[in-house]
């Protein structure tokens, strides 16, 4: 575990640094691969910048609205730098809206856009698993296996390392397909990534000790199964669209 990276007098939080580097690498990779999925490379950074700006604004606005009674007493805190005062879902909705409006104005072909964004999402998942390893979150259930790691007072499955390997493998498959299978229908890259990522999450969640539960089932697995079902359904439709025969 290395939650803080000390550079001279400067203490940097490893988690934030890993996410930043991950997003930068992901965007660079997505921009490089975009022409191969028939999407203009220049739109990637523009869409990402808009998503970031509106995501941050939306996440803070949403948090303020949800806790207005407290913020009303000290309105200056609306501009607080505390990262804990952001609402994740508010950020996601605002980001999505920003991309939607930008895409409509630039006449995006949405399935190609999803494919072009996939390398970014792939790298982000690797970064997320690395960040979990850095700060010790997403920890595994106790285990006596020879490769168990000692974390939080027990020998545990190295669930973060499993997830790093799985997300790297999925990223490699996606990059391979983008390079070697240019004739795939638009959208297949994205939904295949979605199916593969939800599959590894479905499998590897079993080894985690921090799962939220819903009727004794692990919430992460239930959500992953639903995403997997939707992804497989869409992949079927993309490969074999319903055609009306004219005769």
């Amino acid at each position: 575990m290395f939650p803080i990276i000390q550079i001279g007098p400067l203490a940097l939080q490893a988690q934030g640094l890993i996410y930043l580097i991950g997003i930068w690498i992901g965007l660079t990779l997505a921009e490089k691969l975009a022409p191969k999925v028939k999407f203009p490379a220049g739109h990637i950074w523009n869409a990402a910048s808009l998503a970031l700006i509106f995501g941050l604004i939306g996440a803070r606005l949403s948090y303020v609205v949800l806790h207005w009674d407290v913020f009303a007493e000290s309105p200056g805190s609306i501009f607080s730098l505390n990262l804990q005062l952001f609402d994740l879902w508010g950020g996601i909705i605002f980001s999505a809206l920003a991309i939607l409006i930008f895409g409509q104005r630039k006449h995006f072909r949405w399935l190609n856009f999803f494919d072009a964004s996939t390398p970014l999402l792939g790298v982000f998942l690797v970064a997320h698993s690395l960040a979990n390893l850095a700060v010790g979150t997403g920890f595994g259930r106790p285990s006596e296996l020879p490769w168990a790691i000692n974390l939080w007072g027990a020998n545990r499955h190295p669930s973060q390392i499993y997830e790093i390997c799985a997300s790297l493998l999925v990223l490699a498959v996606i990059i391979f397909l983008i390079y070697r299978q240019p004739s795939l229908p638009a959208g297949v890259i994205f939904f295949l990534f979605s199916a593969l990522s939800s599959t590894w999450r479905l499998i590897l969640e079993y080894f985690r000790a921090d799962s939220n539960l819903i009727f004794q089932l692990r919430t992460g697995q239930v959500i992953s199964w639903l995403i997997l079902a939707v992804s497989l359904y869409v992949i079927n439709k993309l490969f074999y669209p319903i055609t009306t025969e004219k005769g």
Binding site: Q13, F139, W152, T199, S211, L213
Partner: protein, 204 residues
């Protein structure tokens, strides 16, 4: 043979037939994956009591807060486990640490506002890299009324794996760490929201 006769052999139907077979294969594969997935979800089901046992005691969110005993500003020993039933904001700080100093007035404000409802602030001074005298001077200057504890040998900082100052642990009345905030200064709004959450038993 005439062209018409060739068509009657259904030759052009083969590509359509192959496509149909591939489509059915993909559907069956998808279905098998989903069935295995559902079985795995069911197999992975776990008793909430068992997951609690996996998270016994450690300085991380979701775990029981490790117990310790430290001297306060009056020379009395304060033990964490004796405060069970109270919501606790456990703050690690030093008098030379700027963000620590900046968040202390907000900490005092929250302590005054919620202490009657069962909130305690424990400010553990990293005395092994600070000075008791300077810590007390700072507390007097800002009129801090919550307990200042002194970690002379740094063992409690080590126990809580404090790598940066300030670091704050929000501990529920049942002794579970709800959140760890590394760095600062924390705004009064953040402290107020977390204090209310602790007292309402949220995220248990």
């Amino acid at each position: 043979m005439h062209e018409k006769d060739l068509r009657s052999l259904d030759m052009p139907a083969f590509p359509h037939y192959n496509r149909r077979v591939s489509q059915i294969k993909l559907r069956i594969t998808s279905l098998i994956i989903l069935i295995f997935g559902a079985a795995w979800v069911y197999y992975s089901a776990v008793d909430p009591e068992e997951t609690r046992a996996w998270r016994a005691t450690a300085p991380a969110a979701g775990f029981q807060a490790p117990d310790f005993e430290l001297q306060n500003d009056l020379g009395e020993l304060v033990r964490l486990n004796n405060l069970e039933g109270q919501a606790i904001i456990l703050n690690f700080w030093a008098s030379w640490c700027l963000p620590c100093r900046e968040e202390m007035p907000a900490m005092e404000e929250i302590y005054q506002q919620y202490r009657q409802q069962g909130l305690t602030v424990l400010a553990v001074n990293a005395t092994h890299i600070d000075s008791r005298v300077k810590a007390l001077e700072f507390a007097a200057l800002h009129g801090l009324n919550f307990p200042i504890l002194f970690d002379f040998d740094g063992k409690v900082n080590q126990l809580y794996r404090v790598n940066a100052l300030p670091t704050t642990f929000f501990i529920s009345p049942t002794g579970t760490i709800q959140e760890v905030v590394i760095g600062g200064p924390m705004s009064e709004v953040l402290l107020r929201l977390r204090a209310e959450n602790l007292l309402s038993g949220g995220d248990e």
